[in-house]
């Protein structure tokens, strides 16, 4: 009975129970087994690298340069709408610019939009969700009211109204997307905080004298972080697709910005040309499709491995 505490052998107990793996390493383990997800991850990685390289001006720098062609008579004219060839693997647009370079540049634009939007909506959602879930009561009522109201207003009209306040352009569209898009995540975060605030470890932290902010962000937040990760990966898809729609409506990318939305909006008339100019539409759609597919697969895999309960 009077064993010296320091002499106790800790491994003795360990051997009796199988230690559970941590959520993250477990998730990673499961993710690694999902080859498709790993593949998607690398695809996304490639997109990100391309985007950053384009943003840094190291790749596809000729996206804004007109090219010319010389006909038999020696007349020089714009190389507009030239179909895919060795020189321009994805053809050229109306001004003779290389579609491949423009599509690559589009990834940089999409990345910017998605990151800005995600940063804003995650910040708002986490903050408000934490407050609503943790404090409850009056604060919860107000925040719930706010997001219920916001969710009722048709998203696109809300975006339009916001872009009228903020002004047009991609950055503002991203900000507006962020300001509108936080409701879903906020709901999830609120539910998580409600669940976690009754857990013993929170009570323990309270008993240790931790203040509410410390508990909310140092103790509970890491436990809800996987939800943020999943929402982030699926949010990317929303941002990329949102940019297309808003650009089409005339609020997004400016005339000279080679965003995917811009390319797809212009494709509408080009497709009906005779002979059909299909390459800008196809390139932008495929570029977008691949990255959205990768994000969807990865997001799915993340959801399965991080939070099997959150399947929706």
């Amino acid at each position: 009975m009077n064993m010296e505490p320091g002499l106790q052998n800790p491994t003795m107990e360990t051997s009796q129970e199988q230690p559970a793996r941590s959520l993250w390493s477990d998730a990673l383990h499961r993710l690694k087994k999902n080859r498709l997800a790993v593949f998607s991850f690398f695809i996304i990685l490639i997109y990100l690298i391309v985007a950053v390289l384009c943003g840094a001006g190291l790749l596809a720098t000729n996206y804004d340069e007109q090219s010319y062609k010389i006909d038999e008579k020696g007349n020089i004219s714009l190389n507009s709408y030239s179909p895919p060839s060795f020189k321009n693997p994805l053809g050229t647009d109306i001004q003779g610019r290389d579609v491949l370079s423009r599509v690559l540049q589009g990834s940089w634009i999409s990345l910017r939009v998605a990151l800005t939007m995600s940063a804003i909506y995650i910040f708002i959602a986490v903050l408000l969700g934490a407050f609503a879930g943790y404090f409850g009561g009056f604060i919860d009522d107000i925040i719930q009211w706010l997001y219920q109201t916001l969710a009722s207003i048709p998203g696109l009209l809300m975006l339009i109204a916001l872009t009228f306040v903020l002004g047009k352009g991609l950055t503002n569209v991203a900000v507006a997307l962020g300001l509108v898009g936080w409701v879903g995540l906020c709901r999830l975060m609120r539910a998580e905080y409600l669940k976690h605030k009754a857990r013993d470890y929170v009570l323990a932290a309270k008993a240790q004298g931790a203040g509410p902010f410390r508990i909310m962000f140092k103790h509970i937040f890491p436990n809800t972080f996987h939800i943020v990760i999943i929402s982030f990966s699926l949010g990317f898809v929303h941002a990329i697709m949102g940019e297309v729609v808003l650009t089409f409506v005339g609020l997004g990318a400016k005339a000279h910005e080679p965003s995917w939305g811009r390319i797809i909006s212009e494709a509408r008339a080009e497709l009906a040309r005779e002979p059909a100019v299909w390459w800008p539409l196809l390139s932008a759609t495929v570029a977008m499709f691949i990255v959205c597919l990768a994000f969807n697969i990865l997001g799915d895999a993340l959801r399965d491995s991080l939070d099997p309960k959150l399947k929706e």
Binding site: P5, P10, Q16, D200, A207, Q208
Partner: protein
Amino acid sequence: MNFLEEKDALCKKEEPLLEVVNLKTYFPIKSGVFRRTVGYLKAVDDVSFTIAAGETLGLVGESGCGKSTTARSILRLVEPTDGKIFFKGTDVRALKESQLRSLRRHMQIIFQDPYSSLNPRMTVASIVGEGLRIHEKLPWREIRERIAFLLDEVGLSPHHINRYPHEFSGGQRQRIGIARALALNPSLLICDEPVSALDVSIRAQIINLLTDLKERHNFAYLFISHDLSVVEHIADRVAVMYLGKIVEIASSTELYNHPSHPYTVSLLDAIPLPDPKRRRNVTPLKGQVPTLAHLPSGCRFHPRCERKRPICETHQPPLTEVSPSHSVLCHSPIS
């Protein structure tokens, strides 16, 4: 009791470390269009007791009788509805949030479930060092040393300092929980069923650890358990709870030898005897435990009581002292 006072200089004369007077914790039940409160769930209903410095009080009762709520109410992790709590003479309920936080370092709690009570996303160091970081603005190196020392004290290797809870077994986790509670060097430790979630083989180790610690640091314990046999070892005095009320409170030896409340008797009867050949004439408790939302009238135990009299159904029994420091809440205590 006198020798306890001498030991703890912090404690004022004649004043217990913790005094709980008429503590009530109700949870409202809401219903209808406007979500009006239509009733209360009386989890803790008029509970009073004291704990002296260095003393161990065992609090025993079936699950759902309000033991944990009592513990949490004392720390104000759950907001009590009424009553007074004095810790070292300060009225805990009158404190503001910030004052409460600094008071809490003197009262610590160990939870039942070693899994949910440790944050899975924090390392052992940050779990154990949390209190130190909040209350003592020490450099990180010193905190680390203290954490290593604490881990050593609860029987864990200081090498574990950067590991995460999932890398430990249940018993080890409970040790981490204990280390966390010890970190601030409290004078009262509330142990909320600290061993009931553990394997029987590990229970003894943890209880021994707690006893050792008490001897070394002279803590007072509020030791909560649903099992009288666990408390027998460690407690100086024992209180038995039934449906939110303390039905019997007495020193450990007195209670085990002369139980006065029929409920205590049946709890004692339920303890399995180490010798399988010996048999007690057991009269098992009949009936279901009523829910806290629909309490029976009169004595709360009467629907299950063998010694029921008509008065039991209508009148609440008074707290009667059957012998010095042995009180019972019964119309006809067993003498």
